[in-house]
Every structure is written in C-alpha cells, then in structure tokens.
C-alpha cells in the first residue's frame, strides 16, 4: 500500500528530450524560464504556447500528464487571476462598488495564467524526462566549479543519492512497523487530529532508531569501500558528454529568447 506512492514523476522513455545531457537539460530549463519572463505581447505568448506544445510532443509524454501537475496550483492560479483582474490601472470596462475591471486587467490575468501554466510544464518536463539520480549527477557536474569556493557540492550530491536510494527501503520499513503495531492493536484511523498524531509516535520512534542503525552500517560499508568523503581524486563510472543534439537544443532555446525580445520591441514601435 504505502509502497505505491510514486516518487518524483519520472517517465522512462527514449525521446529526444530524454536523451539530452542532464547538465544541458538543467540549463535549458533555466533558459526556458527566462524566456517565459521575456515574453510580453500577445504575439509573443502565441509563439511561446506553440513552442511549449512542440516540446511537449517531443517528450512523447501525453499533455494530460503535464496538466495533472497543475491541479494543486488551481487555487493560486485563480487567486492571481482575480488579483490581476481587479487591481490594475487603465480605463474601466465595468465598475461596481470599489471594484473596476479594465481591459488591461483581463489581459494581464490571461497572460499570468498562461505564464504559470508554461512554467509548470517546463519544470515538469525536466523531472518527467530525467531520473532523479541522473538529475542529481547532472547537478553535481554542473555545480562542481563551485567546490573551488568551498561549496560542498559533492557532499550534497552524495546525500541526495543516498536519500533517493533509501526512500523505498524506509517506506517498506514503515509499512512493516505499521503492520506490527496494528497487530498489537494500535489504531491509526480513528480519533481526532491529536489522537492520530499521538498514534504516530510508535511508528516514528522505531523508524528513527532503525534509520540511525542503517546510517551507521552504511557509513562503515562505505568506508570499507575506500570512501574518504572528499571528491578529490574520485572518478565517475558514468560520464556525460555534449552531443550535437545538445548543442542544437541550446541554440533553439537561445534563438527563442532572441525572438521573444524582438517581439517586445515590435510592440514598442507601435506595430
């Protein structure tokens, strides 16, 4: 039961986007976000939507999956839209009591919603097409220059790797402990909030003790395999190299930013 919780939302696949170098993918996601903030005009938004749809279709993951990620954001979306509609300057279209709705307000609201939509889709695209572990590796390689100024990049990535490795193990353990406590008559399902929170203590305490024991054993096992804790002199089994595909992707996204900037100027001169 508890094992069924999906972790991250990686969809394994073989698409062009899946095959991109993870370092490049992280940079692309950042550039894409920048692109979305550059876009200002209606034409620009049409262009951005078209581009986003093209990228979504390239991942071969159905659009439905991306939209699912928007559900938890529904409240924020509506809230932002309303704020934009009611609090904007310009000639009011409709006016009642202290509220006035302007054409600008409606336009801003629509733009804002579209922007958030595309932001979520762009970041989902990164996590949907890259496994968490590859993402961690990519991030480590990308940030490795920072270790020169004493940012613990390697330590951070090792922590992430181990955390990802142990999530399923600890979930399984939680399940076992819960069953063991249920067999002893523990009740997790009824009662008020406080009662239920209290019922969790007999799960959390054994879980913590076991996690510490595991950590201790793991540390010993790592030491036995010559781990010294520093990234100095370490090599990697998996190496990433940029291919033509990655270069093309970078050029495409940079061109998109250039076009978006251009479109803003087009409006500026009154076309």
């Amino acid at each position: 039961m508890i094992k069924d919780i999906t972790l991250g939302q990686f969809f394994p696949g073989n698409s062009v986007i899946h095959k991109l170098d993870p370092r490049v993918k992280i940079i692309l996601a950042a550039l894409y976000i920048a692109f979305l903030f550059v876009v200002q005009t209606a034409v620009g938004y049409a262009f951005a939507i078209a581009a986003t749809l093209v990228f979504v279709s390239l991942t071969k993951i159905p659009l439905k999956m991306y939209l699912r990620g928007l559900k938890p954001l529904l409240f924020i979306l509506i809230f932002t839209a309303l704020l934009n509609v009611f609090y904007s300057t310009g000639e009011p279209l409709v006016e009642f009591w202290i509220f006035k709705i302007t054409a600008d307000g409606i336009k801003n609201a629509i733009f804002m919603i579209l922007r958030i939509f595309m932001l979520v889709i762009a970041t989902s695209m990164l996590t949907y097409t890259t496994s968490p572990i590859v993402l961690t590796n990519g991030l480590e390689r990308l940030l490795s220059p920072l270790s020169k100024i004493k940012v613990p990049v390697h330590e951070f990535s090792m922590m992430m790797t181990i955390a990802l490795r142990f999530i399923p193990t600890l979930l399984e353990e939680t399940d076992k402990i819960m069953n063991a406590q249920k067999a002893r008559g523990a009740d997790f399902e009824t009662g008020g909030l406080i009662k239920r929170a209290k019922a969790l203590a007999p799960i959390l305490i054994p879980l913590f003790i076991s996690a510490f024991r595991r950590a201790d054993e793991l540390a010993t096992a790592m030491e036995c395999r010559c781990y010294t804790g520093s990234s100095e002199g370490r090599t990697h089994l998996v190496s990433y190299s940029m291919s033509g595909r990655d270069v093309i992707a970078l050029i495409v996204v940079i061109c998109m930013i250039a076009i978006a900037v251009l479109l803003n100027y087009v409006r500026f001169f009154g076309f």
């Binding site: 395999r225 010559c226 090599t235 089994l237």
Partner: protein, 280 residues
Amino acid sequence: MSAIITAENITFRYSEGKDIIKNLSLEIEEGDFVAILGHNGSGKSTFAKHLNAILTPSEGKVTVAGLDTSDDNNLAQIRRTVGMVFQNPDNQIIATVVEEDVAFALENLGVEQNEMIRRVDEALETVGMLKFKKHSTTQLSGGQKQRIAIAGVIAMNPRIIVLDEPTAMLDPQGREDVIKTVKKLNEQGVTVVLITHYMDEAAQAKRVVVIDEGEILIDGTPHYVFQNAGLLTSVGLDVPQSTSLMFLLRRYGVKVPLAVLTEDECISVLSDILTRKNAT
C-alpha cells in the same frame, strides 16, 4: 603458502566494558577458505571487524599482508586488500543502479573510466549478475543484493574477502547462490574468511575455527571439528544435520564414520550400509 593475516594475542574491549575478545591468536594462510563459527555474542563478528581495521585491538596486534592495522597510514591499503561484506544487503548498497553500486569503490579509488567499466563487468560476471547491470538495486531479491555487494567488493581486486554472516537474512535459494559465489572466488585464489553460524556453510570451508566467549575453542579441518559434536553442542552450536544423524546411528550401534558433513557424503554412507545389509 604463507600467512596473509596474523592476529597476535589480541584482546578487545569497548571502553570499560568486558573483554569481547580474549588473548586470541590466529594465522590465516593466503588462498585459504576459513569459516569462523560461533553463536551470537561469541565475538566472531567483532573479530571479523579487526581484519580490515574497522576495529583495532585494545591489546595485541593484527597484521594484514604485512601491514599493521593500528597504523592509520596503512588504512587505505588495508581496505583495498581486505574486502568486507556485511549481513544486511540493504545497508551496504549505495547506488540505485546495479553497475553504479559495483563501481562505487572504483570511483573512490580514482580508477580510469574504461578500466572501471571493464572491472565492473568482470565483477558482475563473477557473481553471475551481469544481466542485471542496468537494473535498479531496490527491486532485487536479498540473495541478488548480497551478490551485488560481493561484486562491489571484488571489483577492488582484494586479496582477502571477509564475509560477516552474509546469508543470515537470506532465503535458502539466496544462501546457496551466495555460498556458491564465495567458493568460486576462493577457487580463483582469493582468501576467504566466512563468519557464520550455519554449520552446513562452515562444512564447505577448508578450515573451521570455532570461537566462544572471545576465545578459540577448536580449530581444524571441517571433518576434525565436527567430530567433536559434544564440544560444539556444549557451547550452543549444532553440527550439520548429516553429522548429527551419524551421531544418532552410532548411539544405536550402527558402525558409521562420524565425520560426514554433506548430504552427498551422507547418502553414499547410508547406501553403502544398506547394500551391505541386503547382501548378508
């Protein structure tokens, strides 16, 4: 053959605790397959931890391939010489992908990438897990995980491999696979030290050392050790099932040899007796 591990009069205690190992001396020959037997709390795991300097003796001295384990400067070399496999496979697998876990030690040692790929494949081949190379480590069975852990150790090309109750958490099939792998390694020239409380596993070693209360109780070939069934049971250990069957048969006056360790030996002894009986 020469001794690759020597323990000279070692005593070990945690600060202010009682002695867990008492004045123990042991030499292990290069290329040998030694099983260390003992019940829970006998000090056998504590002893195992002395073999690659996880613990260092409170008194006495342990040398591995001529290196003193108490000297911190030797630590890196000792860890490369003695590979260690632990009881719980879940707590010694670091990566989420099989090949990356096997490569972990090599990454730490700074092995060059092509060499690393070759050695990972070789190690996985040895433990019979090559086809699982790209699999996720969490979806494997206990026996498979333990074999991955062994692969991760042998990728370092250690001269000695110490296994601390590697089969205690496995099902019978997993146990058999692991022991088979261990025997194969020994045939390839790796010195094996197997800590266990399973008699039938110990019976497959070349030498058995029984530890009780931190001292060596008996030391010799499996045949020699298991003949002393009375001594073993007195310290809470069993003898292999076939040996105890022989023991019982003897008590009822059947003339059988005592040192029958494996099922196959047992079958041949019994069929011998039965054919003789039918002949008369």
